[in-house]
Structures are given as structure tokens and as C-alpha cells.
Symmetry: D2
Subunit: 250 residues, 4 copies
């Protein structure tokens, strides 16, 4: 087989280096959050960047046992007690564009707004207004805005807000949506997207960071399911509304 190539980790019998940094030195001095940044970037974060990364990872880690990813992990743990990794993986699989994954789409939305502003010499407000009008005309959903539980404002969003162009454009989008559509607050996925843009990370990280953070919560949920609950405890009530019983195989 062809040898695989990678620019992330160089591991040999006497050394392990992550993007050139010796893992022993990292173990002594770096935080896990530093390492997450380093793995997805090409350098360690500054103190301000580390603070934002920590805030984001903490903010998405767990949203309650009933959140789809957490509930899925617990359902899997309820039927299969042989593999903690199976239950966590089942929870991860529930994460997609609809649940936790809006960050990537919102990063693309913000990035294209920033491009438009820079290319055409527009203010952020004007670029945001154009983007919202376009979404209105093409009836496209704006990823990163709105939340099924927090109908007014997600309390986690404000904490993330510091100064950066990504965040300024996200706020401009929020204002343009309020004026041109109706008040739909930026949600946690959208706030993450804005911060990640300002940290210089690619748009796929919008989803990946949610997954990395959420796995910490899934791990705790699965541990609780194993230790507090009986196997097979979960029964979902179902109502059949299909074709009635058939006679004679018809």
C-alpha cells in the first residue's frame, strides 16, 4: 500500500511531535485547549485566543440529557453495555447540519459577507443587508440564527463576543435580519462561527469544534447511563398508523 502522508503528528519509537512541538513539552505546559487549537491550526493560540476556544468548547459540551446527541448516546448505552465507544459514537452520529452543525454553514455565510465587504468596499451593514435580501429572495435558511429552545436569545452567545471582524459581521447580519425579516437571534452555532472566523480556522471547524466539545458531554452522559440506569430501560411510545392487518397474505 502507498505510504500515507500527514502534517499533523510525527510519531516514532522515541518521539511524538504535534506540528513540530514535542508532546512531552506540551504535556508539561500546554492545556488541552491549546492542543485542540494547534491540531486544527499551525501554531499555539495566544492567551486571548485560548480564552475564546475554552469558552466555545465549554459552551457546547452538554445541553442536557434530552438533546438529540445526548439522548442517542444514552439509548445506545441502554442496549449495548459492551462498548463505551459505541455509545459515544452513536451520539456523535446525531450531529449534523440540523444539530450542532450550523456552524460550518454560518462560517461560510460570514466569510462570504466579509469577502463582499472587502471586495466591493461596502460597510458590514450593507454587506449584511445584501446577504439577507438574497436569502429572502431565494427563500434560503440563514444558518446560525434561531434556536428551538431559546426563542429570544441564547444566553451563551453574549459571552463569546469580543472584537473581531467576524463577530462584527455576525452582529450586522443579526440587525439586518431583524429589520428585513423578523427578530431571529444569533444562536450558539452562529456565535461560534463568528469567533472561529476571527481565529482564522477553516469552515469545517464549525462542525468539528462542536463535536470535540460535545464528546466531553456525551462521555459524562454515557457514564451516568451505565452507573445509574438498568440496561434496556428506555421504551419509546409508538403508534402504528399504516395499513390494517391483511387477510390471507393479500
Amino acid at each position: 500500500m502507498d505510504t500515507w502522508r500527514t502534517a499533523i503528528v510525527d510519531a516514532g519509537p522515541t518521539h511524538i511531535r504535534v506540528r513540530g512541538h514535542d508532546v512531552l513539552e506540551l504535556m508539561r505546559q500546554a492545556t488541552f485547549t491549546d492542543l485542540i487549537f494547534l491540531l486544527h491550526h499551525d501554531r499555539l493560540p495566544s492567551p486571548a485566543e485560548r480564552r475564546l476556544m475554552d469558552a466555545m468548547l465549554v459552551g457546547v459540551a452538554d445541553h442536557g440529557a434530552g438533546a438529540p446527541s445526548c439522548a442517542t448516546a444514552r439509548l445506545a448505552a441502554s442496549g449495548n453495555r459492551q462498548s463505551l465507544s459505541a455509545a459515544i459514537a452513536a451520539g456523535v452520529l446525531t450531529i449534523g447540519d440540523e444539530h450542532g452543525g450550523a456552524g460550518s454553514g454560518c462560517m461560510e455565510l460570514i466569510a462570504s459577507g466579509l469577502d463582499r465587504a472587502r471586495r466591493d468596499g461596502l460597510s458590514f451593514d450593507a454587506a449584511a443587508a445584501q446577504a439577507v435580501d438574497e436569502a429572502k429572495r431565494t427563500r434560503t435558511r440563514l444558518p446560525g440564527f434561531g434556536h428551538r429552545v431559546h426563542s429570544t436569545i441564547d444566553p451563551r452567545v453574549d459571552v463569546l463576543f469580543t472584537l473581531g471582524d467576524g463577530i462584527r459581521l455576525a452582529r450586522a447580519l443579526e440587525a439586518a435580519i431583524r429589520e428585513r425579516l423578523k427578530p431571529i437571534p444569533l444562536n450558539i452555532d452562529g456565535a461560534l462561527a463568528a469567533v472561529l472566523i476571527d481565529l482564522g480556522l477553516p469552515s469545517m471547524v464549525g462542525k468539528l469544534l462542536f463535536i470535540v466539545g460535545r464528546v466531553a458531554g456525551l462521555s459524562a452522559e454515557v457514564l451516568e447511563e451505565y452507573t445509574r440506569e438498568q440496561p434496556m430501560r428506555i421504551k419509546i411510545p409508538v403508534k402504528y398508523d399504516g395499513v390494517p392487518p391483511r387477510q390471507n397474505g393479500q
Copy 2:
């Protein structure tokens, strides 16, 4: 359906609390590592405990693209470009007792050694010697010792070693193995196990912490596979050694 109960997260329209701590306050002040500790424990860590947690999570996050979990995630990403979470989940599924999962078994080994020492008033060396003799007699593998790449010593182990009874017993086991079997160094899973015992965490966390840390690496590996490689690039060479072609359906 019955309402589910949980003691981890309390999430409502205007608040999210993790084990009683307001998530906004955590986002402002805690690190992701603090939160991981809190999710699996009942309190935040001390600075020394946080340092150990960071060292462990950093130590297990990525061991190169060829490690089974990383290779699996990349193989999945190679065939399925529709879902980052699918590729990461595939990587997680590769983690078991054989790969990254020895920590749980080693935690049970150390915990039973500590119990024995306390109950029977033995020194750690004597308790360790008994455990090794028992494993020798019953031909049981001692989880947490030995590594396929690092045949002498895993460079990550020493960094984790501070003072605690779990670690003292792990070192006593290592000495007893050297004397009574042959030199088999404590590996990273075993070092984690010893530290986790000293942090007061249950034995399942031996596996869970590896998963939580490794997901950060899987995320970076999948990002690299998506951005640097073509879909379906991976071809595994296979040799068929089964029954020869059959004639006439025999």
C-alpha cells in the same frame, strides 16, 4: 414515555447549569479541561488536578495518522464525504480494550492492589508482588503494561508522575513485573489509570478520557483527509487464500 432523570446538566429556556454551575460563568472562567473534570466528577479540579488532566488529554490526543483509530477515521472520510461526524465516529469505534482502553482494566488492577494493601496492612510492594504472582499463575495479561511501538519506555509516562497512592502502586507493580516476569514498562494507558485513581474518578473514565482526548486528534485527522486527499484514495492490498474457483456451482 417516562421522564429521564439526570444529575449532570439542568437546561431550561433561560439557564444552563452543569452540576450546579452556571454555564455562562464557566464559559467566562473555566477551561475546557475544568469542564471535562466537572462533568465526570462532582466538583471543579484544583490547579494541580487541572494540570494532570491537561497532561493526560494532551498525551492521548493523537499518536499519528497510522494509529488504528486515526487510520479508521481517515478511511471512513475517504469513502464518505457527506458527514464529518461519521468519520470521527468510525475512529471512536476502533477504541476498545486493545487500543486505548487498557486504562479501565489497569484502574481496576491498581484499585484492587490499594484495597488489598489497606485491608491486609501490606506494603505496596507486597501487594504488587501478590498481584503479579496471581497474574502469572492464572496466565492473565496485566493491562496498562507494554506497548507495541515503545518497547522500552513510553516517553509520555514520566511526565504524568507526581505523588499519589495510585502512582506509587503502579510503580510497585512495574517493579514486581520486572522481578517476577520480565521488564515490561508501564504504558500511557497504565500511567493514566494511576493518575485517574488519584483523582478519585471511577474506572470507566480510564476509557472515556482516552476517547475524549483522542477525538481532538480524530477531528484534525479527518480535516486533513478532507482537505489534502481525494475521495476513495485508499486501497488496501489483499491476498485471497480461500477455496479455489468452483465449477458448475459446486
Copy 3:
């Protein structure tokens, strides 16, 4: 990398053979059930064996949207609409010893009963009585007996019963359990186990056959979730019963 070896499929640019059978010939003449048997055995089934395999696969394919594996697949489909395979995989991950996986344990139970009868010249009834007494003494659960929904008898069990030593011993176990413990009927996992023993398949197939059959049901459940339901429709009710809100970060 070392070349992998396999005795299952020989695939080249101009041929694909499964255990020596040309796949084109199989596509023309064999059923999917024949192929499933061939993949796990070393030959095609007889007509009677094919009938039993079909009955088993049909019997386990779907037990309603509320069964843990089906519910998990639908929960995953509810959050992640980018990957049908992610939703099906989440459902598969819920299958373990507790859900659908009792077959493997029951196959080992029956196989050891058959061994005991042959080795010690016992009747099946005597061998079964010994096995039940042993389980009673060691307080071990007997896998393959009892069901949470069908408290008296699972209607699917009788259909599988034809003549074979595995089935005779399973019936002897059922009788011994009724006499020595209390009436606990053989369940569908146990009936499968008995039939699979008679078909000469290894005990791991007890779980694998359940997975292969159930994936057909998971596929239909996921298709229905995608086509009839909105994303994120599922909300699990949760009650928090952990520590109360903390003041000042205590």
C-alpha cells in the same frame, strides 16, 4: 504495509468470487439469504437450511420504531440529515448483549450442554438440568430466555422449531428452567441460537445474524424518518435531580 489475507472474497478486474463461487452466477441463481449463509459458512445452504435462515432474518428485522435500535436510528436521522449511513450505524451500535445479542451467549450455553451430554453420556434433559442448577447456584442469567414485551411466549419462537439437537437441547433447558426456577420462555434470541447451532455456525453469528437482519428494518425506519418527519422533531423529557445551583462558583 503487509498485504491482508482473506478467504472470503477474491476480487479482481475481471472477476469477483465469494468463497470460490462466481458472483455473476450467484446474482443469477442465488438468493440474498443463500449469500449470507455462504459468507459465514463454507458452502451454500440446502433448501431446508435456506428456509430456516429466511425465517430467522425475517423474524429479527424489525420490532417496531420504539425498539432501542430503531429508536436510536431515528433519533440520529432526526439530527443529521446528511448521511443515511450515519443513522443506520447509530442503530447498529445499540445492539449488544442486552438488545439482540443474547444469541451468542445462548449458543455457547447450548453448545456446552451438547458437549456435556455427549462427553458424559447424559440425556439432554439431564444435561439441561445440570446447566440450570449451575446457573441457579452461581446466580448467572441464562441468555436467550425471557423477554420484556412477550412475558409468556414470543410468537416468533415456534415458527423456527424443526428438528435438530440444538433445538432439542434448548427445549430441554426451557423445561428445566420451568421446573427448577420458574417459567421463563425461550425468546427469539434463544430460538435463533438453537437453530444456528444446528446449522453449524460459530457462536458469534448469534449476534451477527441479528445485526444483518435488523439493518433491513433500520433502513426502512430511517427512510420513514427522512420522508415523514421534520428534522429535530424529537424531544426527550428530562428531569434534573443533581446538586442545586451554586453561588459564587462554590
Copy 4:
């Protein structure tokens, strides 16, 4: 929680019915392939339809241990021996648009060609020519054509070809591609797509049928990995080509 609704299975303490058919009757008389059709359709198949379904499921079940889904399942089984379902799920997760999933896209391509022919009164050849010209102009890939191993023709395709409009249009597309682009044969995904259209199944079944069939192969691959190979046997060769070692944490 709201009760879930379903039109697939009605399961109660004394009955299980699949789309109105009693499962006991199905276990006695139907094949697994009949049930797969029934689960995704609203009726049992005719003998000719059953034959096509069997041919398709047999055709996709296994393409060798080195196929991405099979290799992934074996890698997962190599690291995690606690859960057969984890290894199978990892294999399933590798299936996407690039691997096995082209069927859904090709079903949409054929269905839109059929619509165009019927709506505009075109011959199939004319409709196919328009579709190919369009793909050429927009530089879109035509799903269901071309294969990385079988550069000329996939030997499995011809077996599936009987008479139906879906198949006629697929052949017309193949001819139009040969004339207007270059010879790119219909592959197994495309052939499946054409047959599935003729069977009246929705386009998502293009992927689902591949998954259902392939799981039979994954099951056999995982069984072989568990029974013939040591845990952790697989080592992927990796070459690091990233930044060089850093000095002093720079």
C-alpha cells in the same frame, strides 16, 4: 414525550405485523429479500421483482477485504474486540456518495430523464443527450458511471439488465456519454439505480440497498478478523511531511 407514529411495524404483546402482514406468516413463507422489499415498499414483490432484488443484494454484498467499507470494519475490529456491532457500524460509516452511494444520485438522474422524456415527448436517446450535454456544460459528474477497478465494464452490470424504462434510459445515457464525452461504462451503482427506478422505489433506496447488502459482507469480514487475526495487527505506514521540530516551544 409525544408518541411516535409509524406505518412500518405494528408490534404488541401478541402480534408483530410488517405493513399489515403477520410476521409469523412471513417467517414461514417469505424470503428475507421479500421482507426487504416490503419494508421499503407497500407490498410484497412479484417473482421477477424478487429475482432482481436478490441479484442486487448479492451483487453489492462484498467486494473484497480491501474495499473501503470492509477495510474500515476490519480496522475497527482490530482495535476493539468488545463489540461486533461497533466494527460493522464503522464499515457502514464509510459508505457515502463516493463509495456505494452513487445509486441515489443516479436514480435522480434517471428519474429526471424519464420525466423530461414524458413531459416533452422526447425519445429516451434525446432526453439522455440533453442530460449529458447539460452535465458537460456545468462540468457535473454523472453519478453511476465509471469505476476505479473495472475500467472497461463491471461484470455485475449485465446480469441486472432486464426490460424496463429505467434501464432503457440508463443505456441511453451510457450511449450518449460514449458519443459526447468518452466511453464511461455504467457501474454497479448505476445499474442498481436503473433497476430500483423500475421497481418503483424512492431514490434514497439507492444508498440504503447498498448498505443493507453490504452489511452481510461486513459481518463476514468482521467474523474473519476476529477469528483469524490478532488484535492490533494492522499498521498503516505513514510519512510526516509537516513543519520540522521546533526549538524552545516556538
